[in-house]
Symmetry: C2
Subunit: 211 residues, 2 copies
Amino acid sequence: MEPHKISKKLLNRLSLYLDHLKSLPEDCDNISATAIAKALELGDVQVRKDLAKVSDGGRRRTGHRRQRLIADIENYLSSASGTNTIIVGAGNLGQALLDYGGFANSGLDVMAGFDIHSATKRTKAGKPIYPISKLESFCNRYDVRIGIIAVPADSAQAACDRLVDCGVEAIWNFAPVQLTTPQNIVVHSENLAVSLTALQVQLSSRERKTS
Amino acid sequence: MEPHKISKKLLNRLSLYLDHLKSLPEDCDNISATAIAKALELGDVQVRKDLAKVSDGGRRRTGHRRQRLIADIENYLSSASGTNTIIVGAGNLGQALLDYGGFANSGLDVMAGFDIHSATKRTKAGKPIYPISKLESFCNRYDVRIGIIAVPADSAQAACDRLVDCGVEAIWNFAPVQLTTPQNIVVHSENLAVSLTALQVQLSSRERKTS
DNA sequence: TAGATTGTTAATCGATTAACAATC
DNA sequence: TAGATTGTTAATCGATTAACAATC
Protein backbone atom coordinates (compact mmCIF):
# COMPACT_ATOMS: atom_id res chain seq x y z
CA MET A 1 0.00 0.00 0.00
CA GLU A 2 3.01 2.29 -0.19
CA PRO A 3 2.69 5.27 -2.53
CA HIS A 4 5.53 4.39 -4.83
CA LYS A 5 5.10 6.45 -7.91
CA ILE A 6 1.82 8.23 -8.35
CA SER A 7 1.03 9.90 -11.60
CA LYS A 8 -1.08 13.01 -11.62
CA LYS A 9 -3.69 11.23 -13.68
CA LEU A 10 -4.02 8.58 -11.01
CA LEU A 11 -4.34 11.22 -8.30
CA ASN A 12 -7.04 12.87 -10.34
CA ARG A 13 -9.00 9.67 -10.62
CA LEU A 14 -8.58 8.83 -6.97
CA SER A 15 -10.05 12.15 -5.98
CA LEU A 16 -12.94 11.52 -8.38
CA TYR A 17 -13.60 8.17 -6.74
CA LEU A 18 -13.50 9.79 -3.34
CA ASP A 19 -16.03 12.44 -4.30
CA HIS A 20 -18.29 9.86 -5.82
CA LEU A 21 -18.10 7.46 -2.88
CA LYS A 22 -18.91 10.24 -0.47
CA SER A 23 -21.87 11.37 -2.55
CA LEU A 24 -23.55 7.97 -2.41
CA PRO A 25 -26.62 7.50 -0.19
CA GLU A 26 -26.04 6.59 3.44
CA ASP A 27 -27.43 3.09 3.15
CA CYS A 28 -25.10 2.08 0.37
CA ASP A 29 -22.56 -0.17 2.08
CA ASN A 30 -20.98 -2.01 -0.81
CA ILE A 31 -19.90 -0.86 -4.22
CA SER A 32 -18.16 -2.52 -7.14
CA ALA A 33 -15.44 -1.08 -9.32
CA THR A 34 -17.76 -1.64 -12.26
CA ALA A 35 -20.45 0.55 -10.73
CA ILE A 36 -17.98 3.35 -10.03
CA ALA A 37 -16.66 3.08 -13.56
CA LYS A 38 -20.12 3.37 -15.02
CA ALA A 39 -21.01 6.37 -12.89
CA LEU A 40 -17.83 8.23 -13.81
CA GLU A 41 -17.68 7.04 -17.39
CA LEU A 42 -14.33 5.34 -17.02
CA GLY A 43 -13.10 1.89 -17.97
CA ASP A 44 -14.03 -0.70 -15.37
CA VAL A 45 -10.64 -2.38 -15.57
CA GLN A 46 -8.90 0.86 -14.88
CA VAL A 47 -10.99 1.59 -11.82
CA ARG A 48 -10.42 -1.91 -10.52
CA LYS A 49 -6.70 -1.57 -10.99
CA ASP A 50 -6.61 1.82 -9.32
CA LEU A 51 -8.54 0.55 -6.33
CA ALA A 52 -6.29 -2.47 -6.03
CA LYS A 53 -3.32 -0.12 -5.71
CA VAL A 54 -4.96 1.71 -2.85
CA SER A 55 -6.85 -0.92 -0.93
CA ASP A 56 -6.92 -4.66 -0.49
CA GLY A 57 -10.45 -4.70 0.83
CA GLY A 58 -12.06 -5.78 -2.44
CA ARG A 59 -14.16 -8.92 -2.09
CA ARG A 60 -15.24 -11.06 -5.02
CA ARG A 61 -18.89 -11.02 -5.77
CA THR A 62 -19.76 -8.10 -3.46
CA GLY A 63 -17.13 -5.51 -4.30
CA HIS A 64 -15.67 -3.03 -1.86
CA ARG A 65 -17.03 -1.92 1.47
CA ARG A 66 -17.73 1.74 0.94
CA GLN A 67 -16.48 3.19 4.21
CA ARG A 68 -13.40 1.06 4.16
CA LEU A 69 -12.63 2.17 0.61
CA ILE A 70 -13.07 5.83 1.45
CA ALA A 71 -10.70 5.43 4.37
CA ASP A 72 -8.15 3.62 2.22
CA ILE A 73 -8.15 6.25 -0.51
CA GLU A 74 -7.91 9.06 1.99
CA ASN A 75 -5.10 7.32 3.74
CA TYR A 76 -3.25 6.80 0.50
CA LEU A 77 -3.66 10.43 -0.52
CA SER A 78 -2.94 11.94 2.84
CA SER A 79 0.12 9.87 3.55
CA ALA A 80 1.95 13.10 2.92
CA SER A 81 -0.61 15.52 4.20
CA GLY A 82 0.03 18.00 6.91
CA THR A 83 2.91 19.43 4.92
CA ASN A 84 2.97 23.06 5.91
CA THR A 85 2.49 25.41 3.01
CA ILE A 86 2.62 29.17 2.52
CA ILE A 87 2.27 31.63 -0.34
CA VAL A 88 4.57 34.45 -1.36
CA GLY A 89 2.67 37.21 -3.09
CA ALA A 90 -0.79 38.16 -1.91
CA GLY A 91 -2.16 39.98 -4.91
CA ASN A 92 -5.22 38.71 -6.67
CA LEU A 93 -3.72 35.32 -7.41
CA GLY A 94 -2.22 34.81 -4.00
CA GLN A 95 -5.43 35.69 -2.22
CA ALA A 96 -7.42 33.52 -4.57
CA LEU A 97 -5.20 30.57 -3.72
CA LEU A 98 -5.32 31.29 0.01
CA ASP A 99 -9.10 31.20 -0.09
CA TYR A 100 -9.43 28.46 -2.70
CA GLY A 101 -12.30 26.19 -1.69
CA GLY A 102 -10.88 23.11 -3.33
CA PHE A 103 -8.03 22.84 -0.85
CA ALA A 104 -10.24 22.57 2.19
CA ASN A 105 -12.32 19.94 0.40
CA SER A 106 -9.27 17.75 0.08
CA GLY A 107 -8.03 18.31 3.59
CA LEU A 108 -5.37 20.69 2.39
CA ASP A 109 -4.58 24.03 3.93
CA VAL A 110 -2.41 26.97 3.01
CA MET A 111 -1.35 28.59 6.23
CA ALA A 112 -0.62 32.17 5.30
CA GLY A 113 0.40 34.64 2.62
CA PHE A 114 3.34 37.02 2.57
CA ASP A 115 3.45 40.30 0.72
CA ILE A 116 5.57 43.41 0.37
CA HIS A 117 2.89 45.54 1.98
CA SER A 118 3.86 46.35 5.51
CA ALA A 119 0.71 45.77 7.52
CA THR A 120 -0.73 42.40 8.45
CA LYS A 121 -4.06 41.87 6.73
CA ARG A 122 -6.54 39.08 6.26
CA THR A 123 -8.19 37.61 3.18
CA LYS A 124 -11.95 37.51 2.83
CA ALA A 125 -11.94 34.02 4.27
CA GLY A 126 -9.77 35.16 7.14
CA LYS A 127 -6.37 33.82 6.16
CA PRO A 128 -3.52 36.00 7.45
CA ILE A 129 -1.28 37.99 5.12
CA TYR A 130 1.98 39.02 6.75
CA PRO A 131 4.64 41.43 5.59
CA ILE A 132 7.35 39.55 3.75
CA SER A 133 9.89 40.49 6.43
CA LYS A 134 8.32 37.84 8.63
CA LEU A 135 8.85 35.08 6.10
CA GLU A 136 12.01 33.63 7.61
CA SER A 137 10.82 33.51 11.19
CA PHE A 138 7.46 32.03 10.18
CA CYS A 139 9.02 29.30 8.08
CA ASN A 140 11.36 28.35 10.87
CA ARG A 141 8.72 28.30 13.53
CA TYR A 142 6.23 26.22 11.57
CA ASP A 143 8.63 24.07 9.56
CA VAL A 144 7.15 25.20 6.25
CA ARG A 145 8.09 22.78 3.48
CA ILE A 146 6.11 23.97 0.45
CA GLY A 147 6.16 27.50 -0.91
CA ILE A 148 3.78 28.82 -3.54
CA ILE A 149 5.00 31.65 -5.73
CA ALA A 150 2.28 34.09 -6.78
CA VAL A 151 4.30 37.21 -7.43
CA PRO A 152 4.83 38.97 -10.77
CA ALA A 153 7.37 37.48 -13.15
CA ASP A 154 10.13 39.97 -12.32
CA SER A 155 10.24 39.12 -8.64
CA ALA A 156 9.63 35.39 -8.93
CA GLN A 157 13.26 34.30 -8.92
CA ALA A 158 14.01 36.47 -5.90
CA ALA A 159 11.01 35.04 -4.06
CA CYS A 160 12.17 31.59 -4.99
CA ASP A 161 15.69 32.14 -3.70
CA ARG A 162 14.32 33.46 -0.47
CA LEU A 163 12.04 30.45 -0.03
CA VAL A 164 14.95 28.12 -0.65
CA ASP A 165 16.95 29.97 1.98
CA CYS A 166 14.06 29.45 4.36
CA GLY A 167 14.47 25.71 3.98
CA VAL A 168 11.43 25.09 1.80
CA GLU A 169 11.74 21.79 -0.06
CA ALA A 170 9.19 22.23 -2.83
CA ILE A 171 8.00 25.18 -4.85
CA TRP A 172 4.78 25.57 -6.77
CA ASN A 173 5.33 28.38 -9.22
CA PHE A 174 2.55 30.38 -10.88
CA ALA A 175 4.77 33.10 -12.31
CA PRO A 176 5.49 32.79 -16.02
CA VAL A 177 9.23 32.23 -15.65
CA GLN A 178 11.59 29.30 -15.56
CA LEU A 179 13.03 29.19 -12.05
CA THR A 180 16.57 28.23 -11.17
CA THR A 181 16.98 26.27 -7.95
CA PRO A 182 19.39 23.87 -6.29
CA GLN A 183 18.87 20.34 -7.55
CA ASN A 184 17.35 19.01 -4.36
CA ILE A 185 14.36 21.36 -4.56
CA VAL A 186 11.21 20.04 -6.22
CA VAL A 187 9.75 22.65 -8.54
CA HIS A 188 6.40 22.48 -10.25
CA SER A 189 5.61 25.35 -12.58
CA GLU A 190 1.97 25.85 -13.43
CA ASN A 191 2.43 27.52 -16.80
CA LEU A 192 -1.11 28.70 -17.44
CA ALA A 193 -0.21 30.01 -20.88
CA VAL A 194 0.70 26.52 -22.03
CA SER A 195 -2.56 25.18 -20.63
CA LEU A 196 -4.58 27.74 -22.54
CA THR A 197 -2.62 27.07 -25.71
CA ALA A 198 -3.27 23.36 -25.29
CA LEU A 199 -6.97 24.05 -25.13
CA GLN A 200 -6.85 26.19 -28.27
CA VAL A 201 -4.90 23.60 -30.17
CA GLN A 202 -7.29 20.86 -29.14
CA LEU A 203 -10.15 22.99 -30.32
CA SER A 204 -8.64 23.73 -33.69
CA SER A 205 -7.59 20.15 -34.36
CA ARG A 206 -11.06 18.98 -33.48
CA GLU A 207 -12.45 21.46 -35.95
CA ARG A 208 -10.38 19.96 -38.69
CA LYS A 209 -11.92 16.58 -37.98
CA THR A 210 -15.50 17.76 -37.63
CA SER A 211 -15.74 20.03 -40.59
CA MET B 1 3.83 20.32 -40.27
CA GLU B 2 0.20 19.82 -39.23
CA PRO B 3 -0.46 19.81 -35.49
CA HIS B 4 -1.90 16.34 -35.25
CA LYS B 5 -1.83 15.39 -31.63
CA ILE B 6 0.14 17.60 -29.29
CA SER B 7 0.71 16.50 -25.76
CA LYS B 8 0.96 19.07 -23.03
CA LYS B 9 4.49 17.99 -22.31
CA LEU B 10 5.47 18.73 -25.88
CA LEU B 11 3.82 22.15 -25.73
CA ASN B 12 5.73 22.85 -22.56
CA ARG B 13 9.02 22.01 -24.16
CA LEU B 14 8.26 23.99 -27.30
CA SER B 15 7.62 27.08 -25.25
CA LEU B 16 10.88 26.47 -23.40
CA TYR B 17 12.74 26.29 -26.71
CA LEU B 18 11.08 29.46 -27.84
CA ASP B 19 12.08 31.35 -24.71
CA HIS B 20 15.60 30.08 -24.99
CA LEU B 21 15.97 30.90 -28.68
CA LYS B 22 14.73 34.40 -28.11
CA SER B 23 17.10 34.92 -25.22
CA LEU B 24 20.18 34.15 -27.31
CA PRO B 25 22.46 37.01 -28.40
CA GLU B 26 21.58 38.84 -31.60
CA ASP B 27 24.54 37.57 -33.55
CA CYS B 28 23.76 33.93 -33.00
CA ASP B 29 22.36 32.78 -36.31
CA ASN B 30 22.62 29.01 -36.10
CA ILE B 31 21.92 26.64 -33.28
CA SER B 32 21.96 22.87 -32.92
CA ALA B 33 19.46 20.71 -31.10
CA THR B 34 22.35 19.47 -29.01
CA ALA B 35 23.17 22.97 -27.83
CA ILE B 36 19.55 23.65 -26.90
CA ALA B 37 19.38 20.36 -25.06
CA LYS B 38 22.47 21.16 -23.07
CA ALA B 39 21.24 24.63 -22.14
CA LEU B 40 17.85 23.35 -20.98
CA GLU B 41 19.13 20.13 -19.47
CA LEU B 42 17.08 17.89 -21.72
CA GLY B 43 17.99 14.89 -23.84
CA ASP B 44 19.47 15.89 -27.19
CA VAL B 45 17.52 13.25 -29.08
CA GLN B 46 14.30 14.51 -27.64
CA VAL B 47 14.98 18.09 -28.65
CA ARG B 48 15.95 16.97 -32.13
CA LYS B 49 12.78 14.99 -32.46
CA ASP B 50 10.62 17.83 -31.18
CA LEU B 51 12.19 20.27 -33.59
CA ALA B 52 11.73 17.87 -36.49
CA LYS B 53 8.02 17.81 -35.73
CA VAL B 54 7.81 21.57 -35.94
CA SER B 55 10.26 22.53 -38.64
CA ASP B 56 12.10 21.02 -41.56
CA GLY B 57 14.77 23.68 -41.62
CA GLY B 58 17.39 21.58 -39.84
CA ARG B 59 20.64 21.30 -41.79
CA ARG B 60 23.29 18.68 -41.14
CA ARG B 61 26.51 19.94 -39.73
CA THR B 62 25.23 23.49 -38.96
CA GLY B 63 21.96 22.91 -37.18
CA HIS B 64 18.92 25.16 -37.41
CA ARG B 65 18.74 28.75 -38.50
CA ARG B 66 17.63 30.54 -35.37
CA GLN B 67 15.11 32.99 -36.80
CA ARG B 68 13.60 30.37 -39.03
CA LEU B 69 13.23 28.02 -36.06
CA ILE B 70 11.57 30.68 -33.91
CA ALA B 71 9.12 31.39 -36.70
CA ASP B 72 8.38 27.70 -37.19
CA ILE B 73 7.70 27.08 -33.51
CA GLU B 74 5.53 30.15 -33.21
CA ASN B 75 3.64 29.15 -36.29
CA TYR B 76 3.10 25.66 -34.94
CA LEU B 77 1.86 26.97 -31.60
CA SER B 78 -0.27 29.73 -32.93
CA SER B 79 -1.98 27.70 -35.59
CA ALA B 80 -4.98 27.96 -33.33
CA SER B 81 -4.35 31.35 -31.85
CA GLY B 82 -6.77 34.19 -32.02
CA THR B 83 -9.44 32.08 -30.37
CA ASN B 84 -11.53 34.55 -28.46
CA THR B 85 -11.61 33.90 -24.75
CA ILE B 86 -13.49 35.36 -21.78
CA ILE B 87 -13.74 34.72 -18.05
CA VAL B 88 -16.82 34.27 -15.92
CA GLY B 89 -16.21 35.35 -12.35
CA ALA B 90 -14.06 38.38 -11.65
CA GLY B 91 -13.13 37.85 -8.04
CA ASN B 92 -9.52 37.48 -7.05
CA LEU B 93 -8.91 34.52 -9.30
CA GLY B 94 -10.72 35.95 -12.30
CA GLN B 95 -8.89 39.23 -12.11
CA ALA B 96 -5.58 37.47 -11.60
CA LEU B 97 -6.18 35.51 -14.80
CA LEU B 98 -7.32 38.57 -16.73
CA ASP B 99 -4.09 40.33 -15.85
CA TYR B 100 -1.83 37.29 -16.00
CA GLY B 101 1.45 38.30 -17.60
CA GLY B 102 2.19 34.88 -19.03
CA PHE B 103 -0.64 35.09 -21.55
CA ALA B 104 0.63 38.22 -23.25
CA ASN B 105 4.10 36.66 -23.43
CA SER B 106 2.70 33.84 -25.49
CA GLY B 107 0.57 35.99 -27.72
CA LEU B 108 -2.57 35.00 -25.86
CA ASP B 109 -5.24 37.35 -24.69
CA VAL B 110 -8.29 37.10 -22.49
CA MET B 111 -10.76 39.68 -23.73
CA ALA B 112 -12.93 40.43 -20.73
CA GLY B 113 -14.37 39.25 -17.45
CA PHE B 114 -18.00 38.95 -16.40
CA ASP B 115 -19.29 39.22 -12.86
CA ILE B 116 -22.52 39.46 -10.92
CA HIS B 117 -21.74 43.00 -9.85
CA SER B 118 -23.78 45.41 -11.84
CA ALA B 119 -21.34 48.12 -12.86
CA THR B 120 -18.69 47.82 -15.53
CA LYS B 121 -15.22 47.98 -13.97
CA ARG B 122 -11.65 47.49 -15.05
CA THR B 123 -8.82 45.40 -13.67
CA LYS B 124 -5.54 46.96 -12.62
CA ALA B 125 -4.15 46.26 -16.06
CA GLY B 126 -7.23 47.78 -17.67
CA LYS B 127 -9.15 44.71 -18.78
CA PRO B 128 -12.92 45.31 -18.73
CA ILE B 129 -15.23 43.53 -16.32
CA TYR B 130 -18.86 43.58 -17.43
CA PRO B 131 -22.02 42.65 -15.58
CA ILE B 132 -22.91 39.06 -16.33
CA SER B 133 -26.10 40.17 -18.03
CA LYS B 134 -24.01 41.20 -21.01
CA LEU B 135 -22.46 37.75 -21.42
CA GLU B 136 -24.75 36.54 -24.20
CA SER B 137 -24.53 39.61 -26.38
CA PHE B 138 -20.76 39.83 -25.98
CA CYS B 139 -20.22 36.19 -26.87
CA ASN B 140 -22.34 36.56 -29.95
CA ARG B 141 -20.75 39.72 -31.15
CA TYR B 142 -17.16 38.53 -30.73
CA ASP B 143 -17.63 34.84 -31.48
CA VAL B 144 -16.17 33.76 -28.14
CA ARG B 145 -15.10 30.14 -28.24
CA ILE B 146 -13.32 29.56 -24.95
CA GLY B 147 -14.79 30.33 -21.54
CA ILE B 148 -12.84 30.29 -18.30
CA ILE B 149 -14.75 29.56 -15.11
CA ALA B 150 -13.44 31.36 -12.04
CA VAL B 151 -16.55 31.48 -9.88
CA PRO B 152 -17.07 29.71 -6.53
CA ALA B 153 -17.89 26.02 -6.62
CA ASP B 154 -21.61 26.47 -6.04
CA SER B 155 -22.17 28.60 -9.12
CA ALA B 156 -19.74 26.84 -11.42
CA GLN B 157 -22.22 24.50 -13.06
CA ALA B 158 -24.64 27.36 -13.70
CA ALA B 159 -21.87 29.44 -15.23
CA CYS B 160 -20.88 26.47 -17.34
CA ASP B 161 -24.42 25.93 -18.64
CA ARG B 162 -24.67 29.55 -19.52
CA LEU B 163 -21.39 29.50 -21.41
CA VAL B 164 -22.52 26.46 -23.34
CA ASP B 165 -25.72 28.27 -24.24
CA CYS B 166 -23.61 31.14 -25.51
CA GLY B 167 -22.00 28.79 -28.00
CA VAL B 168 -18.64 28.43 -26.28
CA GLU B 169 -16.80 25.32 -27.47
CA ALA B 170 -14.24 24.83 -24.73
CA ILE B 171 -14.24 25.46 -21.00
CA TRP B 172 -11.30 25.88 -18.69
CA ASN B 173 -12.57 25.28 -15.20
CA PHE B 174 -10.87 26.47 -12.03
CA ALA B 175 -13.73 25.72 -9.67
CA PRO B 176 -13.31 22.57 -7.59
CA VAL B 177 -16.24 20.70 -9.11
CA GLN B 178 -16.78 18.13 -11.82
CA LEU B 179 -18.75 19.85 -14.56
CA THR B 180 -21.45 18.24 -16.67
CA THR B 181 -21.57 19.34 -20.30
CA PRO B 182 -22.79 18.13 -23.66
CA GLN B 183 -20.30 15.76 -25.24
CA ASN B 184 -19.11 18.12 -27.91
CA ILE B 185 -17.73 20.61 -25.40
CA VAL B 186 -14.06 20.34 -24.51
CA VAL B 187 -13.58 20.71 -20.76
CA HIS B 188 -10.31 21.06 -18.96
CA SER B 189 -10.52 21.25 -15.19
CA GLU B 190 -7.54 22.69 -13.44
CA ASN B 191 -7.94 20.92 -10.10
CA LEU B 192 -5.43 22.81 -8.02
CA ALA B 193 -6.01 20.57 -5.01
CA VAL B 194 -4.78 17.56 -6.94
CA SER B 195 -1.72 19.50 -8.05
CA LEU B 196 -0.85 20.43 -4.51
CA THR B 197 -1.39 16.87 -3.33
CA ALA B 198 0.89 15.64 -6.10
CA LEU B 199 3.60 17.93 -4.85
CA GLN B 200 3.18 16.72 -1.28
CA VAL B 201 3.28 13.10 -2.32
CA GLN B 202 6.39 13.65 -4.39
CA LEU B 203 8.02 15.29 -1.41
CA SER B 204 7.17 12.52 0.98
CA SER B 205 8.23 9.73 -1.36
CA ARG B 206 11.50 11.48 -1.98
CA GLU B 207 12.01 11.67 1.74
CA ARG B 208 11.70 7.94 2.03
CA LYS B 209 14.48 7.55 -0.50
CA THR B 210 16.78 10.19 0.93
CA SER B 211 16.60 9.36 4.58
C1' DT C 1 -24.29 -24.35 -9.55
C1' DA C 2 -24.34 -19.89 -11.92
C1' DG C 3 -23.22 -15.17 -11.80
C1' DA C 4 -20.93 -11.22 -10.28
C1' DT C 5 -16.88 -9.55 -9.08
C1' DT C 6 -12.03 -9.33 -8.18
C1' DG C 7 -7.14 -9.80 -9.31
C1' DT C 8 -3.55 -11.28 -12.73
C1' DT C 9 -1.28 -11.91 -16.89
C1' DA C 10 -0.71 -10.56 -21.67
C1' DA C 11 -1.42 -7.07 -25.49
C1' DT C 12 -1.53 -2.40 -27.06
C1' DC C 13 -0.35 2.25 -27.35
C1' DG C 14 2.29 6.53 -26.91
C1' DA C 15 6.26 8.78 -25.37
C1' DT C 16 10.98 8.63 -24.53
C1' DT C 17 15.57 6.92 -25.25
C1' DA C 18 19.23 4.53 -27.69
C1' DA C 19 21.66 3.11 -31.79
C1' DC C 20 22.74 4.05 -36.24
C1' DA C 21 22.75 5.61 -41.03
C1' DA C 22 22.91 9.79 -43.96
C1' DT C 23 25.08 14.08 -45.34
C1' DC C 24 26.97 18.54 -45.58
C1' DT D 1 38.43 13.09 -45.56
C1' DA D 2 36.81 13.74 -40.77
C1' DG D 3 33.53 15.65 -37.75
C1' DA D 4 29.33 17.61 -36.46
C1' DT D 5 24.83 17.33 -36.98
C1' DT D 6 20.45 15.72 -38.55
C1' DG D 7 16.85 12.30 -39.33
C1' DT D 8 15.38 7.37 -38.96
C1' DT D 9 14.72 2.96 -37.22
C1' DA D 10 14.65 -0.06 -33.23
C1' DA D 11 14.40 -0.69 -28.03
C1' DT D 12 12.56 0.59 -23.66
C1' DC D 13 9.35 2.14 -20.43
C1' DG D 14 4.92 3.31 -18.29
C1' DA D 15 0.13 3.59 -18.62
C1' DT D 16 -3.97 1.79 -20.37
C1' DT D 17 -6.80 -1.84 -22.18
C1' DA D 18 -8.10 -6.58 -23.11
C1' DA D 19 -8.47 -11.41 -21.96
C1' DC D 20 -8.77 -14.65 -18.57
C1' DA D 21 -8.43 -17.27 -14.30
C1' DA D 22 -9.96 -17.33 -9.42
C1' DT D 23 -13.57 -17.26 -5.97
C1' DC D 24 -17.27 -16.13 -3.05
